[in-house]
C-alpha cells in the first residue's frame, strides 16, 4: 500500500506494509534514527514523536493508522541552528547520560509543555512516564521547570 506522511515539514510517500509501525518507518525507511526502539509495547517512551501535535509512542502506531498525519521527530525540533528551548534546557542541566531515551523524553516534554506551560510537580509526574535507566529524572524535572520558569 502507498501511504503519505508529512515528516518534519516534508511530504513523504511510502509503499510499505500497512501494519509497519511508524517507529520503523521513521528509522528504517526514512533514515530518521533519532527516534529510538526501546520496548515495542508503548511502555518506555523512547519512540515518542508528535502526531498532529500530540505526543505518541510510535512503536505501536501502524502506518495505516497515521496516514496523512503531520509527524514531528527529534530531528525536526530545532529551527535551523537554534535548538528548541527544551533541548537547550537539557544541555544547560546536563541531562543525558547514555542518551538513548532522551529523544523520546524531549518529545514527550515538548508536547506536554505546549499543553501545560507551567506544570506542577504532580502534573509532571503523571504526564511524563518515559523510562530512563540512567536515572536522569532529577535533571529532567529541573530542566522542565527551567523551561516553564516555575522554579
Amino acid at each position: 500500500m502507498v501511504y503519505t506522511l508529512k515528516v518534519n515539514g516534508d511530504t513523504k510517500t511510502l509503499n510499505i506494509d500497512g501494519d509497519t509501525p511508524l517507529l520503523w518507518v521513521l528509522r528504517d525507511h526514512l533514515g530518521l534514527t533519532g527516534t529510538k526502539f526501546g520496548c515495542g509495547v508503548a511502555a518506555c517512551g523512547a519512540c515518542t514523536v508528535h502526531v498532529d501535535g500530540v505526543a505518541m509512542r510510535s512503536c505501536v502506531l501502524p502506518i495505516e493508522s497515521v496516514s496523512g498525519s503531520d509527524i514531528r521527530t527529534i530531528e525536526g525540533l530545532a529551527r535551523a541552528d537554534v535548538l528548541h528551548k527544551v533541548q537547550q534546557a537539557w544541555i544547560d542541566n546536563q541531562v543525558p547520560q547514555c542518551g538513548y531515551c532522551q529523544s523520546g523524553m524531549i518529545m514527550a516534554v515538548v508536547a506536554f509543555l505546549e499543553e501545560n506551560p507551567q506544570p506542577t510537580d504532580e502534573e509532571i509526574d503523571s504526564a511524563i512516564t518515559n523510562i530512563c535507566r540512567c536515572g536522569t529524572y532529577s535533571r529532567i524535572r529541573k530542566a522542565i521547570h527551567q523551561v516553564a520558569n516555575t522554579e
Binding site: 529510538k36 511502555a43 541531562v95 543525558p96 547520560q97 547514555c98 512516564t129 536515572g135 529524572y137
Partner: protein, 752 residues
C-alpha cells in the same frame, strides 16, 4: 581484593609513542611493550610489540583528536579523558574531538581494557586473569595500570613538551623560555607565537620525553571543574549514533528467537513457514536459536514471530524460582563450603558472646534492561568480518565475531558506537557472535540484528540469586566480636568465562573475587571474621551487573550491621562509628553523611530513615534514605543523601550524575527488580513486568563530594550498592519491620 593487588604487581615497560600521524601532524599515544608473543592461534595476543592504548592527534589544520578504544555509555568517560588530556596539553576542552578508533586485531588487546577506566573493574580482574594465564612476560619499570589518571596526563604533557621543543627549535631559542597555553606556544622574550597546528608536523619528529612533567593537582585549571560533557549536544538532537542506528548500503535486518527454556536447545524449525512472507531473505540457525533475515526489521520481526520452531527444555523444565530457593537453602547447610576468609576464631568468639544473632537474606536474579536492546551489525566478506556495535568488551566481541563469521580474530574489524546503556550487559560477546553467524550466511551483505525487548529480558546474563546467612556475637558493652557470613550463589567468573573466554582462560571459580567483594573485605574492625561460599551450578546465565557483588553484599552486610546495632541498643551511626576507628576515610564519609542528612534530628510518625556505608572500586559511599509510609501502607522514598569520597575529582558534575544514576538503578532493583523462573522459563519479558523507577517515584537526591587527595576511584557503579540497605533500614526505622528479601514489591504489607 587479592586479584586487584595482583594486578598492581604486574609490571611492564610503558612507553610513549610519538610520530607522524596519517595525513601529517603529531600523534602521541601510550603503549605497553610485550616482550614475548602470546599463544599461537590466539590472535589478539599473537604479536609481540606495542599495543597502543589511547592516543591524541594534532592535525595540521588544528584539530585535536583523542582516540580512545572504548565506548561511552553514559558515564562521561569521553569528557573525563579529554579533560585529562586538555589539562596537560594546554588546550580548551571544546577544542578536543573524541573518536572511537576502529578496533582491529592488533588493538583487540586485553590491556586496552585495563587502562584509564576505573569503572570497568569487572573487566580488569578478568584481564588480570587473561594476563596471568597467558605466557606473557611483561617487564620493566612498574607504573600505574589501573587508570588513565596518570597515563592520559602523560600523553598530554608529552605532546605539549614536543610542541614546545618544536617551537623553540624553529625560533632557535631554549624551550625553557617558551610556554604553552590555549593551543599555542609563546616565546615571551620576543613575543612570538605559533599555533599547535603550525607545529604539529615538526613536533612529530621530536623524540617523546622520557619523563614528561605533569602538573601538580594544585595547578589544575580544568580537571576538577564541572565542564559540560562533550557528548551531550548530540544526544539532544537525535544525532548521536548508537549501535542500533548504524546504516549501511544494501543492509538487511535480522530478528532472532532463542530458546524460552534456560539451557534449552533448538530442535527444529520450518523455514518454509516464513520464506514466502514479504521481504524474507533467509532463515539462519544461530547460537541459542534461529534468526530470520528480511529487507526491513519489521518484516524480520513478523517472520520470526510466525516461524514454526521447536526448542527442547534442556532437561530444566522443572526449574522454578521456588525450586532454586529450596535448593539454595538446602545447600546453605549441606553444600560444599569454601572458606575465603578466616580471621581469629569465630566459633570461640561466638561462644563467649553476650548476645548472638542469626539472619538469612535472599535476593533474586536481576536483568540489566539497558534502554537500547542488544543489537549488532555485521558484514562478512571472504575471510574478513566487520562488526558495528556499542560494546564494553571489544576483545571478547572480536573473538565472538571471529567465531561466528568463521574467520581469524585478526581479520575482524570492530567499529564501536555509543551505547544505550551497558551496566555490565555489554561485556558479553553473544550478540556479536550471532550477528556474525547471520552475516556469514548472507555473505557480502551487511545485516543488522536487533533483539526484541522480550529476547533482551529473557536472554540476559543476570545478576545472580544469592542467599546470605549471617551469625554474629556481641560482647559485654555491645561491641561486635564475632562475624560469620556464608554466601550461596553461582560463580560469575566461571559462568562468564564459559560463555566468553577460550577454555584455557576459564577459571575454576573457586575464590571468585567477583562474588565476594563487599562481603570478605569489610572496612569494619572484625577480629573474628569468617566468610564462606557455597558455589551453585544452574542453567541460568549470570554475569556482571552494575557494581557486581557489591549490589547484593552491601544489602546483606549493611542490613545486618543495622540489625546488630539495634540488638546492642545503639544508634546505627554510633555503632558503625565504633567499628571504623582504623578506617579514617570511611569514618570521614560517615560523619559527613550524618551531618548532611541531619541524622540526629527525629522524623515525624510514619516516616523513617536508614543509613548504609559501602566501599567499592576505590571509592567510599555513604547514603541515608528517608521514606514515608501512608496510612494505607504505601511506601514512598522521599529523599536520599549521598556522600562520596572518590579521590581527586576529574569532573564533579559527572560524579554527582553518576551517584544519582547508580542510586536510581539500585532503587529500581530494591523496589521492583526480579527475574523469576517457572517451568524452566524466564517469566518476565518487558518493562510492564520488569518495572523501574520513573519520574513519579524518583526521590530527591542530594550528593556531597568529599574533598580528597586519594587517587581517583570509580564512580560509575559506586552509587548503586548502598541504596537498598539504606532503604530497608529506613523501613525498619519507620515501622520495625526487617526486610531480608528483595524486591520490596513482594512484601505484602507494602504497596509501592
Amino acid at each position: 581484593m587479592a586479584t586487584q593487588s595482583k594486578a598492581m604487581k604486574i609490571t611492564k615497560r610503558a612507553l610513549l609513542v610519538g610520530g607522524l600521524a596519517v595525513g601529517g601532524g603529531l600523534a602521541v599515544g601510550y603503549a605497553y611493550l610485550r616482550d614475548k608473543p602470546g599463544t599461537a592461534g590466539f590472535g589478539a595476543f599473537g604479536e609481540p610489540g606495542a599495543a597502543l592504548n589511547a592516543w591524541v592527534k594534532i592535525t595540521p589544520d588544528g584539530r585535536i583528536i583523542l582516540a580512545v578504544p572504548r565506548a561511552e555509555m553514559g558515564q562521561g568517560v569521553y569528557t573525563a579523558l579529554a579533560m585529562l588530556i586538555a589539562e596537560e596539553l594546554e588546550v580548551a576542552l571544546n577544542q578536543i574531538e573524541v573518536e572511537h578508533p576502529d578496533v582491529d586485531g592488533k588493538y583487540a588487546n586485553a590491556f586496552i581494557l585495563t587502562e584509564d577506566m576505573p569503572q570497568f573493574r569487572p573487566v580488569i580482574w578478568l584481564v588480570t586473569r587473561v594476563a596471568s594465564a597467558l605466557p606473557l612476560i611483561i617487564t620493566g619499570g612498574s607504573t600505574t595500570i589501573r587508570d588513565g589518571w596518570e597515563a592520559m596526563r602523560r600523553v598530554g604533557a608529552s605532546a605539549r613538551m614536543m610542541l614546545v621543543d618544536a617551537a623553540a627549535e624553529r625560533w632557535g631559542v631554549t624551550p625553557e623560555d617558551c610556554t604553552a597555553k590555549r593551543g599555542a606556544v609563546t616565546h615571551a622574550p620576543s613575543g612570538r607565537v605559533l599555533r599547535y597546528a603550525d607545529l604539529a608536523e615538526a613536533a612529530a619528529l621530536i623524540k617523546p620525553p622520557a619523563d614528561p612533567q605533569l602538573k601538580s593537582p594544585a595547578a589544575f585549571e580544568l580537571v576538577g571543574t564541572s565542564a559540560p560533557r562533550l557528548d551531550v549536544p548530540a544526544k539532544v538532537t537525535g544525532a548521536a549514533e548508537f549501535g542500533i542506528d548504524v546504516r549501511l548500503p544494501g543492509m538487511s535486518y535480522a530478528a532472532v528467537r532463542q530458546s524460552p527454556f534456560c539451557g534449552g536447545k533448538l530442535v527444529s524449525y520450518d523455514a518454509d513457514s516464513v520464506l514466502a512472507l514479504p521481504g524474507v531473505e533467509a532463515v539462519v540457525p544461530v547460537h541459542g536459536g534461529v534468526a530470520v533475515v528480511a529487507q526491513t526489521f519489521w518484516q524480520a520481526k513478523k517472520a520470526i514471530d510466525a516461524l514454526d520452531v521447536t526448542f527442547d527444555d534442556g532437561g530444566n523444565g522443572a526449574l522454578s524460582s521456588q525450586s532454586i530457593s529450596d535448593l539454595y537453602h538446602k545447600a546453605l547447610d549441606s553444600g560444599d563450603v569454601i572458606s575465603v576468609r578466616e580471621d581469629g576464631n569465630f566459633t570461640r568468639a561466638l561462644q563467649s558472646s553476650e548476645k548472638t544473632l542469626e539472619a538469612i537474606y535472599e535476593v533474586p536474579f536481576l536483568a540489566h534492561a539497558c534502554m537500547e536492546p542488544m543489537n549488532c551489525t555485521a558484514l562478512v566478506k571472504g575471510d574478513t568480518a566487520e562488526i558495528w556495535l556499542g560494546i564494553q568488551a571489544p576483545t571478547m566481541s572480536n573473538w565472538g565475531a571471529a567465531e561466528g563469521a568463521g574467520v581469524e580474530t585478526d581479520k575482524v574489524t570492530l567499529h564501536v558506537t555509543y551505547m544505550g546503556g551497558g551496566f555490565g550487559r555489554r561485556q558479553e560477546m553473544d550478540i556479536a557472535r550471532q550477528a556474525a553467524e547471520i552475516a556469514r550466511a548472507v555473505e557480502g551483505r551487511p545485516v543488522k540484528l536487533i533483539w526484541s525487548r522480550e529476547e533482551d529480558v529473557k536472554h540476559d546474563s543476570y545478576r545472580p540469586v544469592v542467599l546470605s546467612k549471617f551469625e554474629a556475637g556481641l560482647g559485654e558493652s555491645g561491641t561486635l566480636t564475632a562475624w560469620k557470613n556464608r554466601l550461596v550463589l553461582q560463580s560469575i567468573e566461571l559462568d562468564y568465562g564459559k560463555r566468553n573466554l577460550p577454555d584455557m582462560l576459564v577459571g575454576n571459580g573457586k575464590a571468585d573475587p567477583a562474588i565476594l567483594r563487599g562481603a570478605a573485605d569489610l572496612p569494619y574492625a572484625l577480629p573474628h571474621y569468617t566468610v564462606e561460599t557455597v558455589l551453585m551450578d544452574l542453567p541460568v546465565d549470570v554475569g556482571y551487573w552494575r557494581s557486581v557483588a557489591h549490589s547484593h553484599n552491601a544489602f546483606f552486610t549493611e542490613s545486618f550491621v543495622d540489625e546488630l546495632a539495634h540488638l546492642s541498643q545503639q544508634d546505627p551511626y554510633a555503632f558503625r562509628r565504633a567499628l571504623l576507628s582504623q578506617a579514617p576515610r570511611h569514618l570521614n564519609v560517615l560523619d559527613l553523611l550524618a551531618e548532611k542528612a541531619d541524622w540526629n534530628k527525629p522524623l515525624e510518625k510514619g516516616r523513617g530513615k536508614g543509613m548504609a556505608l559501602h566501599d567499592c572500586f576505590g571509592s567510599v559511599v555513604g547514603q541515608v534514605a528517608e521514606i514515608s509510609l501512608s496510612e494505607q501502607g504505601v511506601l514512598r522514598v522521599d529523599r536520599v543523601v549521598c556522600v562520596v569520597d572518590c579521590g581527586m575529582n576529574v569532573n564533579p558534575d559527572t560524579i554527582v550524575a553518576q551517584m544519582e544514576s547508580g542510586i536510581v538503578f539500585g532503587l529500581s532493583a530494591a523496589l521492583y527488580g526480579e527475574i523469576t523462573l517457572e517451568s524452566g522459563r524466564i517469566v518476565q519479558s518487558n518493562f510492564p513486568d520488569y518495572e523501574v523507577v520513573k519520574l513519579a517515584t524518583m526521590p530527591v537526591i542530594e550528593t556531597h563530594i568529599v574533598s580528597s587527595t586519594h587517587t581517583p576511584g570509580g564512580v560509575g557503579e559506586t552509587g548503586t550498592p548502598a541504596i537498598a540497605p539504606a532503604l530497608t533500614n529506613a523501613i525498619f526505622n519507620a515501622m520495625g519491620q526487617r526486610i531480608r528479601v528483595l524486591p520490596l514489591k513482594n512484601s505484602s504489607f507494602l504497596s509501592v
